[in-house]
Symmetry: C2
Subunit: 250 residues, 2 copies
């Protein structure tokens, strides 16, 4: 039974200060993951983390998005190296707690074709899971036909991996406790129309990889229930609960 847990970039970094970790938040997330993995509550876990102030800073400076690329090697390397640095922080905190985490860098693994269609072979992740490791993927740049490299968001990875790995549970840990209608968490979403007015598109501009509206759209297409919750609810999610908002698509 494969769980996919995404740690939002804004959860584990100080989003408004370039390349600054939120060490306390990352420690807390690593504690929750270690509790679930080391005591065996979760047998197969894939972690994905976003870019936060590591990836987004360089991506917006270079003008690179999920659809608009660059063929400038220095820009590509700047984004990729920042994301690897963040990934190294995440891995270290997990290793300190006994989690058998291994890095999987998407630039090394996948690509997009001329239509922007993502190809992300995940045999390495399946083999790692079978051997008891916890693969840790992250938002990255990715080679893209006719664009050089474009951004691959953590959310796209979650969507791709959920299908490819036939995941049973998907959790997205964000800075908010769920999808909000004013101040209330919407417990369940089954169609985008239900929440389109609420989501608007307000936070999309703040995030090169799209905000909550894009996230909900992707999750509705997953084919597996996905929960969106805050940092305090990681343990509950890994214990089998459905904290925050659960998106049930088709």
């Amino acid at each position: 039974m494969t769980h996919i847990l995404k740690l939002g970039g804004s959860v584990i970094t100080e989003k408004h200060r370039a390349e600054t970790l939120d060490g306390e938040a990352l420690d807390a997330a690593a504690d929750a993951v270690a509790d679930a993995v080391v005591d065996g509550a979760v047998s197969e876990l894939v972690l994905v983390h976003g870019g936060g102030s590591f990836g987004h800073h360089h991506a917006s400076e270079a003008g690179v998005s999920t659809t608009h690329g660059t063929d400038d090697t220095a820009d590509a390397i700047a984004i990729h190296s920042a994301m690897k640095a963040l990934n190294q922080f995440v891995l270290s905190r997990l290793h300190e707690r006994g989690v058998p985490a291994l890095p999987v860098h998407p630039l090394s693994a996948g690509s997009r074709d001329e239509q922007g269609e993502l190809s992300l072979p995940l045999g390495q992740v399946e083999t790692m899971l079978g051997e008891g490791f916890v693969p840790v993927l992250h938002g990255d740049v990715i080679a893209t036909a006719e664009e050089g490299v474009t951004v691959l968001s953590g959310d796209e990875i979650v969507t791709e991996a959920a299908v490819a790995l036939d995941a049973e549970r998907v959790g997205l840990c964000s800075t908010v406790p769920g999808v909000l209608d004013d101040e209330d968490v919407i417990p369940e979403i089954t169609t985008f129309e239900d929440v389109a007015a609420v989501l608007g598109g307000s936070d999309v501009a703040a995030d090169v990889t799209g905000g909550m509206a894009a996230k909900v759209k992707q999750l509705l297409d997953l084919g597996v229930p996905a929960s969106v919750f805050g940092p305090d609810a990681i343990s509950a999610f890994l214990a089998g609960e459905e904290p925050g908002t659960t998106v049930h698509g088709r």
Copy 2:
């Protein structure tokens, strides 16, 4: 026309001192690559480098080989991190010279099944080549069913990539000027029997990923001519010559 050039680990590192770069040799190799790439003599180039004193030191300490694995995360990370450190040195020297090099870490890309059969999807490398980048792969650890992780040698990567990418030319830069019969370079090898007596297996023990005998056996199966030469001959190879020993298999 895709060229694959492997820089042997013993060429670019001080093989007998743990994690020590041979900076001069790496500079010379990077010069030769930059000359060929920047002036357009080579349009599509894949670089592969071995582990030398970076990977082999940790691999032999952990008792890990291409067939015998470990499920110890710390050992896997030690080998992988050392190889990434070496890869970072290689990339930096190439970037300094204007080569649009991007890293491809095999742990992130491939795996072996229960029979040890390698699966290394290379769509990311093809897309990078199409976009004018120079992908740089390296010996690494790789997730392996029933073994945890095993070593993936640079030579295995060359073999796999030559077939998958339908490479037209393969070059292996070693510390020796070719396959030697006493002190003479054998210009051409077409069957292993021709050179079995000469190669013996003398240097296999010194290298967890196999020595010249294993290399020649792999090259005979390539289906494309492969040249084995010394560091001074990189430019000649990239200019279209066949320096050192050329192995023509089936």
